[in-house]
């Protein structure tokens, strides 16, 4: 049942991906209700899966890499549904679907759904640490998507080659603002998550890895705040930092559990 929900959810995101590819090939790229509906259905199915999994493990379902990837995908979609319309970034959905599809497909195909070792005691702080940290990664993922949109828009503006997608991307200035806000939101969530982890006493190596990601984003945001980096570099760094965060995420998981 659980897995069927996830497969159905992944299929919804595949539909979103298919629409994006079709629209790009047909040079007829525009926000579509179809894409939003596919994302929303995928989100509902994801939520149902996570609820069932949470009931099963009697905890926030982030106990192994498989669950972390699904929870991360869920966070990305949740944030998209919240910030997408608010910042008129409707096309964020077209870029979000492919990313979420890849995460979920990998989670489904790779042999990573191994039961985690049972925990000695239940700690709500530990749950908070895990949930907030993964949600922070969700915000960083969306920042990365907005960064890619910025770079696509910037490239077209610089090269004077305006393709179909250009007319449907938000203004480049709005994208720069969206990246900043998403990264700040992720940074705030990660800060609280790490603090909760510090209080509960997670292993030192995990803290160090988490802090490395925290420091990377802190440096980027500080550079942006002090206006030391151009918006273009900021977008590149948002993409690069998320790639780094993803690597650390799998590294953290090798260390096991939460």
């Amino acid at each position: 049942m659980e897995r069927s929900l996830l497969v159905a959810s992944t299929f919804c995101f595949l539909l979103g991906l298919a629409y994006t590819v079709y629209a790009l090939r047909a040079r007829h790229f525009r926000p579509s209700r179809f894409n939003l509906s596919a994302i929303f259905c995928g989100f509902v199915l994801q939520s149902a899966f996570l609820y069932l999994r949470g009931e099963k493990v009697r905890a926030c379902p982030v106990t192994n890499l498989f669950e972390v990837l699904i929870f991360l995908s869920w966070s990305i979609v949740l944030l998209y549904l919240v910030v997408g319309p608010a910042y008129r970034l409707s096309l964020l959905g077209a870029f979000t679907s492919p990313m979420v599809f890849v995460f979920q497909l990998f989670a489904l195909l790779a042999p990573i759904d191994r039961p985690a070792a049972p925990r000695a005691h239940h700690s709500s702080l530990l749950e908070l640490h895990a949930a907030l940290s993964v949600m922070a990664y969700g915000a960083f993922a969306l920042g990365c998507v907005a960064g890619v949109m910025y770079l696509v828009q910037e490239r077209q503006l610089k090269s004077h080659q305006l393709h179909s997608i250009f007319f449907h991307l938000p203004p480049i200035h709005d994208l720069a603002v969206a990246i900043t806000r998403l990264l700040f939101a992720g940074f705030a969530l990660l800060t609280v998550g790490l603090f909760a982890g510090f209080l509960v006493g997670v292993p030192m190596l995990k803290v160090v890895i988490g802090e490395a990601v925290w420091l990377a984003y802190a440096a980027i945001l500080l550079g942006e705040w002090m206006k030391k980096i151009s918006p273009r570099r900021f977008a590149v760094l948002a993409v690069a930092a998320f790639a780094f965060a993803l690597v650390t995420l799998s590294g953290l998981n090798l260390l096991g559990g939460k």
Binding site: H28, H160, S164, F166, K227, S230, P231, R232
Partner: protein, 353 residues
């Protein structure tokens, strides 16, 4: 019941001929009302824009209706018969669907015509000049226009240099409400472009020109401020959009002049529109982070590209229109049948499907 159309447009008549037949917007309703009371004409809509004057009528006899419409035009002025076109049955349906979709416009795909036709139809409605047939006809036409606009690229991009510049500015800054514009060289093209930017919300115009008097005059016209030509780069910092159109024989906007300004601007982009030939801006400026430079050729190329994109979708638009023409033709053919026969037709269609 037949739907007929008689009129003249930019394709068949010169502006001198069209202006003789033009009808003021405030008179469209009364003209339609007067026509609809003519013997043999039940329903009428009169459309008058700068590019066309057309009358649509629903009547049982097409020949009789067209003759009445010809008399209506003859009362207003005289013109060669070649200036007019007429259509009945399927042809008139196709014509209106093409007109509202922008396929008959001077600039392919322009959208202003839809609003103008809507106003003309509303005026006729308010004057009681329309009935069941024209109501259905015009409502269907508006649906066709909506479908064509949303499902094809027929309205994609802009087709004039000024409009392309404004579109690009909006793609860079979003709303132009907080944008400041600097004009270097008070030429006609730069003035038109500045006016287009102002109409979309830009404000605070600075004008700099070799002849300071001309700069003062243009600044006064645009509600801006004139600055001395040798001081323009000192005033560039607050500007978001720079329009260059001087007659200088060499580039006056260079990396060296822009670089210190960009350092102070931090993350605010700078959009430079170079309308001058020879160019006012060194092309190397476009390589700088946050600077977007467009010269007259690149703006013209984008305008041309938009037109090409629109033309490429022409066949698709026509396909959509043909489908609607056929569907509406079927409805019109059955509309004169008594209710019982209409019911029988519907039952037959349902059985067939």
């Amino acid at each position: 019941m037949n739907i007929v159309c008689l009129g003249l447009s930019h394709r068949t008549a010169s502006v001198e001929q069209r202006e003789k037949f033009a009808i003021a917007e405030s008179e469209l309703g009364s003209a339609a009302c007067r026509l609809s009371t003519t013997d043999g004409l039940g329903e009428c809509v009169v459309i008058s824009t700068c590019n066309r004057v057309e009358v649509y009528a629903a009547a049982p006899d097409a020949g009789f209706a067209l003759a009445a419409l010809r008399r209506f035009f003859a009362e207003r002025a005289t013109a060669d018969d070649t200036a007019f076109y007429q259509a009945d049955a399927t042809e008139s349906i196709r014509h209106l669907f093409r007109v509202v979709s922008g396929l008959e416009s001077m600039v392919l795909g322009e959208t202003e015509i839809l609003g103008q036709v809507k106003k003309a139809y509303q005026a006729a409605c308010d004057a009681g000049a329309t009935g069941r047939h024209l109501n259905k006809f015009f409502q269907r036409a508006f649906n066709v226009a909506k479908e064509v606009r949303t499902k094809t690229n027929i309205t994609r991009g802009s087709t004039s240099v000024g409009a392309v510049a404004v579109d690009l500015a909006e793609k860079i800054f979003g709303k132009l409400n907080s944008c400041k514009v600097m004009i270097l060289g008070a030429g006609e093209t730069s003035e038109l472009t500045a006016r287009a930017l102002l109409s979309r919300g830009a404000h605070s115009i600075f004008v700099s020109n070799r002849s300071h008097d001309r700069a003062v005059a243009l600044a006064a016209e645009l509600g801006g401020r004139a600055i001395h030509f040798d001081k323009w780069h000192d005033e560039l910092l607050p500007a978001d959009i720079l329009i260059g159109s001087t007659a200088a024989p060499h580039a006056i906007v260079t990396r060296e002049k822009i670089a210190p300004v960009m350092r102070q601007r931090k993350d605010r982009p700078l959009f430079i529109i170079d309308l001058a030939v020879p160019r006012d801006v060194d092309p190397a400026v476009n390589e700088m982070d946050g600077v977007y430079l467009y010269d007259i050729d690149s703006l013209k190329a984008i305008a041309g590209q938009s037109l090409e994109v629109r033309r490429a979708d022409l066949a698709l638009c026509e396909q959509m229109i043909e489908r609607h023409v056929a569907e509406f033709g079927v409805w019109l053919a059955k509309s004169h049948l008594p209710p019982l026969e209409r019911g029988a037709h519907l039952a037959k269609r349902l059985a067939a499907s």
